[in-house]
C-alpha cells in the first residue's frame, strides 16, 4: 500500500532542514564537469562494438512513399542492414503522441523517419543513407495557421502538465460586462512555433538478448517510455529495459520515445547486434515535437480605478489531426480576479510536425500574451502595472469562489521585486530614457504556473557500510534530481549527504513521477520520503526501537537514552525498503499554484533597434525550496529560454512545402552568452503543507512563465513601440523607431 497523502503535512523529519533546503553543490557535478557522466550515445561501458544507424527523414510534408530504392546503399562499403518504413507495418504510437513514429507508407509530416541504414561506422552509415532514392506521391497539405484559424473549432485540451480545460469556459456574462466596462482593451497577438533545441540530440543504443531489449536512451519519463516501447515493439514490458542516467536536456522534447529509440530497436534486431542511433541536428526540429504557434485574443474590461470586471482570453493553435491544442488560456482562469470571464481554445488542423509540450506548455505562450495585455491595460488606466496586478489579486479560484489557493503570495512577489529592482525610478512614459546609443526601458510581468503532484515511488537500501542508496526511475534532466533526492534521503536517515548514493533513470527501479510539468522535484522527493519512512521502520524494528520515537541523527538511531549506529541495523545484511507516495484530494480541494514576478531592463539601440537585455530579476513563491542553488538555476534557465521566445526564437514555416525551414542551431536562434546578463532570483521563504510531506512545489517552469512579456513590456517602455507578434526581432521595430535626438 503506497503512502497516501490526503491530509496536510504535519511536522516531519524533513523540517529539520539540516540537509534539505541548503544550497548544496550538485553531487553529479564532478562527473558532468569532467565529461565522465555517461549520456545515451556513449555507453561503450555496457554496449561494446555497436553498429551505427543513420536515420533518413521524409522529403515531403504529406503524402505517401511509393518506393524506397536501397540497392545502391546495400552495395555501399560497411553496409550491414536497412530497415525502411515500407518493410514495416505502421507501428503503434507512443503514449500521448499524435504522430506515428515509423512504419507504413503514409507521411504525416516533413522529416518523418522513413529508413534507418546500419553500417560498421558512422561515416559509412551516413554515406549509405545518402544513396537511398525515394519515390513519393505528395499530397496537398495545410501548413498556414493564419489561414486555417478561420475554420478552427473549439476543443477541450490538456497539456498533461497542469493546464487544460474545455474548449469554451464561462463565468458570469463576459460579453455584457465587457460592453458596459468604462475602460476596455481588445488586442490580438501571435506567438511562434518554437523548438526545444536541447543540447543532446535524441539518441539510443539498443541491444537485444534473445527476445529482450535494453535501450540506453535519453528520456525524461522512463515509465512512459518503457510502456510505449513494449507497445511499439509488441513485446511484454518485462522484456524491455530503458536506462537514462543522464539526459542532456529535454524541456518536453524527451517526454516521449522518439524515432531514435524505435529505429535503434528495429535496427539492432535486424542487424543482430547492438545499434546506436542519434537524430542528426537538422532532423530534430521537424522529426520530433515542438511548441505550437498561437494566435491569441485578449479582452479586458475594468472600472476606472482598475478593477477587472470582464476578462476573455482565446487562443488558436494548430496540430495534426489527433493532436491537442496549446493550452495558452489556462492561467487566465486563475491569475486575476473578475466576475465575468471567458476562455476558449480552438484547434486548426495542420500537417506540420506534431505540436506538443515544451517547457511550461500553455503558460509560456499564454503569459507572453496575457501579461503584455495587462501592461497595455495598465497604461490605458493610467495605473502602474505592478499596482494594477496587485489590485486584481485573488485568494480564491475565480471560477469557484469557495475554493481557495493553498498558498498564494503573488502580491509579495510583486512588492519585493519592485523594491529590489528599483521599479519606482522607472519612467512610465515610453521612449524617454537614454543611455548613450541605447534607449532604455523597464518592464515587468507576473509569473504563474500550477503545482502538480504525481504518484512517485522509490527503493532505499541501507548497506552494511551504513551507506544509503536510493533507486528510482526518476530522471535528472539538469533539474538537480540527483542532489535533492540524496538530500531527502540524508535528512530522513540522519546521515551526511556523502553517505547517500542516488541511482536514477533505470526502468528496473520503482516508477517515479518522472521529469515534466515541474512536478518532478516535489513528487519524486516525496516518494523518496515515503520509502525512507519504511526504511526507518525496518531499521527501528531491527534495532528494537519504537519507530515512532526513534530519532535518526548523525548516523545514529536514538530513542530514550539508547543510541545505536545506523549501520548496525544492516550488520546482518542490507535492509531494503520500497514505497510510493500517492496524492489524494488535497490538490482538488484547494488550488495549488506557484507564483512569481519578473522585472527586466532592456536597451534598444537607437539606430539599429537591436535589443539587449541589461538586467533581470525574478521573485518566486514556490513552497519550500529543496536546494536554493539548483532551484535558482532552474529559474534562470527559464528566464533565458523566455528571453529567447521574446526576442529570437521562431521556427520559420514554409507554408508551401510544409516544414520548418531553419531546422538547426544556426538558423533557429537561441540565446547565447552575449544575450543574457547577470540574473537575480529571490525565493520567498515558504512551506506549503498542502503540497506534500516535502512542503515544496514545482519551480522548474515558473521561471519561463511571464518573463517574455516582461522583456516585451521593457522594449515598449524603451521605444514606445508595441510589438504584438513574437518574437520581437529588430525588423519589427526598425521602421517605427523614435527619431534620434
Amino acid at each position: 500500500m503506497p503512502m497516501k497523502f490526503d491530509t496536510p503535512a504535519g511536522q516531519n523529519p524533513i523540517d529539520q532542514l539540516k540537509v534539505v533546503g541548503r544550497p548544496t553543490d550538485r553531487i553529479d557535478g564532478k562527473y558532468k564537469t569532467t565529461g565522465t557522466a555517461p549520456y545515451a550515445y556513449e555507453r561503450h561501458d555496457v554496449a561494446p562494438n555497436p553498429a551505427y544507424g543513420y536515420v533518413l527523414g521524409a522529403g515531403i510534408a504529406k503524402g505517401r512513399v511509393r518506393a524506397i530504392h536501397v540497392e545502391e546503399a546495400r552495395r555501399a562499403p560497411g553496409f550491414l542492414t536497412v530497415v525502411t518504413t515500407l518493410d514495416t507495418p505502421r507501428l503503434e504510437r507512443g503514449k500521448m503522441n499524435a504522430a506515428y513514429l515509423f512504419g507504413g507508407d503514409e507521411i504525416q509530416h516533413y522529416h518523418q523517419a522513413i529508413a534507418v541504414v546500419v553500417a560498421e561506422t558512422f561515416e559509412q552509415a551516413r554515406a549509405a543513407a545518402y544513396l537511398i532514392k525515394v519515390d513519393y506521391a505528395p499530397e496537398a497539405g495545410r501548413f498556414d495557421l493564419a489561414a486555417e484559424a478561420k475554420v478552427a473549432q473549439p476543443v477541450p485540451g490538456d497539456s498533461g502538465e497542469g493546464s487544460g480545460g474545455d474548449g469554451v469556459e464561462r463565468v458570469g456574462d463576459f460579453e455584457a460586462a465587457f460592453a458596459q466596462a468604462p475602460i476596455t482593451l481588445d488586442q490580438t497577438y501571435t506567438t511562434a512555433d518554437e523548438s526545444h533545441a536541447m543540447m543532446e540530440p535524441h539518441a539510443t543504443i539498443a541491444a537485444w538478448e534473445g527476445d529482450r531489449v535494453t535501450l540506453w536512451t535519453s528520456n525524461q519519463m522512463i515509465a512512459w517510455g518503457h510502456g510505449s516501447m513494449a507497445k511499439i515493439l509488441g513485446i511484454p514490458k518485462e522484456n524491455v529495459r530503458l536506462d537514462s542516467p543522464y539526459v542532456g536536456g529535454g524541456f518536453g522534447g524527451k517526454l516521449f520515445v522518439r524515432a531514435d529509440a524505435v529505429l535503434a530497436a528495429l535496427a539492432a534486431r535486424a542487424a543482430g547486434r547492438p545499434v546506436k542511433v542519434a537524430l542528426t541536428r537538422p532532423l530534430i526540429a521537424n522529426n520530433t515535437t515542438h511548441r505550437p504557434a498561437t494566435i491569441q485574443r485578449v479582452r479586458i474590461g475594468a472600472t476606472p480605478d482598475g478593477r477587472i470586471t470582464a476578462i476573455a482570453h482565446e487562443s488558436t493553435s494548430g496540430n495534426l489531426p489527433d493532436g491537442d491544442p496549446e493550452t495558452a488560456v489556462n492561467q487566465t482562469k486563475l491569475l486575476y480576479a473578475g466576475a465575468n470571464r471567458l476562455t476558449a481554445m480552438k484547434l486548426a488542423h495542420l500537417d506540420l510536425p506534431e505540436g506538443n509540450a515544451m517547457r511550461a506548455p500553455g503558460e509560456a505562450p499564454g503569459l507572453m500574451v496575457l501579461e503584455v495585455a495587462m501592461d497595455e491595460m495598465a497604461e490605458k488606466l493610467g495605473l502602474d502595472p505592478v499596482e494594477f496586478r496587485i489590485r486584481n489579486d485573488t485568494q480564491v479560484d475565480p471560477n469557484k469562489p469557495g475554493r481557495r489557493f493553498s498558498h498564494r503570495d503573488l502580491v509579495g512577489c510583486l512588492r519585493l521585486g519592485a523594491e529590489r529592482f528599483g521599479w519606482a525610478k522607472r519612467n512610465p512614459k515610453p521612449g524617454q530614457v537614454r543611455d548613450g546609443q541605447w534607449l532604455v526601458g523597464h518592464g515587468m510581468a507576473a509569473a504563474f504556473r500550477n503545482n502538480l503532484v504525481v504518484k512517485s515511488g522509490a527503493r532505499v537500501r541501507l548497506g552494511r557500510d551504513g551507506v544509503v542508496t536510493v533507486e528510482t526511475d526518476m530522471t535528472d534532466i539538469g533539474t538537480g534530481s540527483y542532489t535533492i533526492i540524496a538530500q531527502t534521503a540524508a535528512e530522513m536517515m540522519g546521515v551526511p549527504l556523502e553517505r547517500v548514493v542516488a541511482r536514477l533513470g533505470d526502468s528496473r527501479f520503482p516508477v517515479s513521477a518522472g521529469s515534466g510539468g515541474q512536478f518532478g522535484g516535489n513528487s519524486s522527493t516525496a516518494g523518496v520520503y515515503a520509502a525512507c519512512v519504511r526504511l526507518r521502520e525496518a531499521v527501528a524494528q531491527r534495532l528494537g526501537f519504537n519507530a515512532n520515537d526513534a530519532q535518526f541523527v548523525d548516523g545514529q538511531v536514538r530513542s530514550g537514552n539508547r543510541t545505536v549506529p545506523l549501520a548496525q541495523a544492516a550488520s546482518d545484511g542490507e535492509l531494503v525498503a520500497e514505497d510510493a507516495i500517492e496524492f489524494g484530494k488535497l490538490s482538488q480541494e484547494q488550488q495549488q499554484s506557484t507564483f512569481g514576478a519578473h522585472f527586466v531592463e532592456v536597451g534598444v539601440d537607437a539606430d539599429t533597434a537591436e535589443v539587449r537585455v541589461r538586467r533581470m530579476l525574478a521573485v518566486c513563491a514556490a513552497g519550500r525550496i529543496l536546494n536554493p542553488k539548483s532551484a535558482r538555476s532552474q529559474v534562470i534557465g527559464g528566464m533565458t529560454m523566455g528571453t529567447g521566445a521574446a526576442l529570437m526564437e521562431e521556427l520559420a514555416v514554409d507554408t508551401k512545402r510544409g516544414f520548418f525551414v531553419n531546422h538547426d542551431l544556426a538558423g533557429y536562434e537561441v540565446p547565447v552568452h552575449a544575450d543574457i546578463p547577470h540574473q537575480e532570483v529571490i525565493f520567498l521563504d515558504e512551506a506549503d503543507p498542502m503540497s506534500s510531506p516535502m512542503k515544496a512545489k514545482g519551480v522548474g517552469e515558473l521561471g519561463i512563465c511571464g518573463v517574455g512579456a516582461a522583456v516585451a513590456n521593457a522594449v515598449y517602455n524603451a521605444t514606445g513601440i508595441r510589438v504584438r507578434d513574437y518574437p520581437i526581432t529588430l525588423d519589427k521595430l526598425l521602421d517605427r523607431m523614435p527619431e534620434a535626438a
Binding site: G29, K30, E123, M199, G249, G480, H673
Partner: protein, 197 residues
C-alpha cells in the same frame, strides 16, 4: 606541422587508390598520430572521421559532446595546439602531430581543474551536455585574453585586454547552453580569471 599532415594525407591516397582500384565509395583510410591529453595516439581512420568522432567513437573519450555536428553549438570544443576549436568541424587526419586537450585532460572527478571546480561551485551547468565544451572553451578563452587577442567588444586594440564580463560573454557566445546557465558560467569564469591574475 602543416607539412607533416599534408604528407600523411598524400601518402594515404595512393595506397588506397593503388594497384587494386577501390570500389566506389570504398573508404579511404589514413594513419594519423597525435597527442591527446598527454598520451600519444595512433589511429588508422576513414578520412571522413571528424576529430570529435575519433575521440568519442575510436578512443572512447566521450567527454567531448556532439550537439550539432555542424559547428553551431560548441559542445565539442577541444583545445588543439593551444587554441579552442570545434572538433566536429575538422577531420581527425588534419591533426598529425597535434597536441590536443579534451575535457578528460583538464581534470578528473577526484582532481578537478580550477575551471571545473568553479563550475561546480557556481552551478555553471544543468543537464551537463554543453559543459565540457564550455569548460574547454573557457580555459582557452582566458588564455586568448591573456595573449592580448582582441574581440568584437574590445574597445582599445592597443591596450591589454581586460577580463570583463562583456569580454567573457562575447568570446563564449559560440558555446550554447540551452538550459540557460550563462549567468552562473560567467561567474565561474570570472572567478577563475581573478585567481589567475
Amino acid at each position: 606541422m602543416v607539412g607533416a599532415s599534408a604528407t600523411a594525407a598524400l601518402a594515404a591516397v595512393p595506397s588506397a587508390a593503388g594497384a587494386q582500384p577501390a570500389r566506389t565509395g570504398e573508404p579511404v583510410l589514413a594513419k594519423v598520430a597525435f597527442t591527446m591529453n598527454g598520451q600519444r595516439r595512433e589511429l588508422e581512420l576513414d578520412t571522413r572521421t571528424s576529430l570529435l568522432d575519433a575521440a568519442r567513437e575510436h578512443l572512447h573519450l566521450t567527454g567531448s559532446k556532439k550537439g550539432c555536428d555542424h559547428g553551431q553549438c560548441g559542445a565539442c570544443t577541444m583545445i588543439v595546439d593551444g587554441r579552442r576549436i570545434n572538433a566536429c568541424l575538422t577531420l581527425a587526419i588534419m591533426h598529425q602531430g597535434a597536441e590536443i586537450t579534451t575535457i578528460e585532460g583538464l581534470g578528473q572527478p577526484d582532481s578537478l581543474h580550477p575551471m571545473q571546480a568553479a563550475f561546480v561551485k557556481h552551478d555553471g551547468y544543468q543537464c551537463g551536455y554543453c559543459t565540457p565544451g564550455q569548460i574547454c572553451s573557457g580555459v582557452a578563452m582566458l588564455d586568448e585574453i591573456k595573449a592580448g587577442i582582441p574581440s568584437h567588444v574590445t574597445a582599445d586594440l592597443t591596450a591589454p585586454v581586460a577580463v570583463t564580463e562583456a569580454e567573457i560573454r562575447e568570446r563564449m557566445s559560440g558555446n550554447i547552453c540551452r538550459c540557460g546557465a550563462y549567468s552562473n558560467i560567467v561567474e565561474a569564469m570570472t572567478e577563475v580569471a581573478g585567481r589567475r591574475a
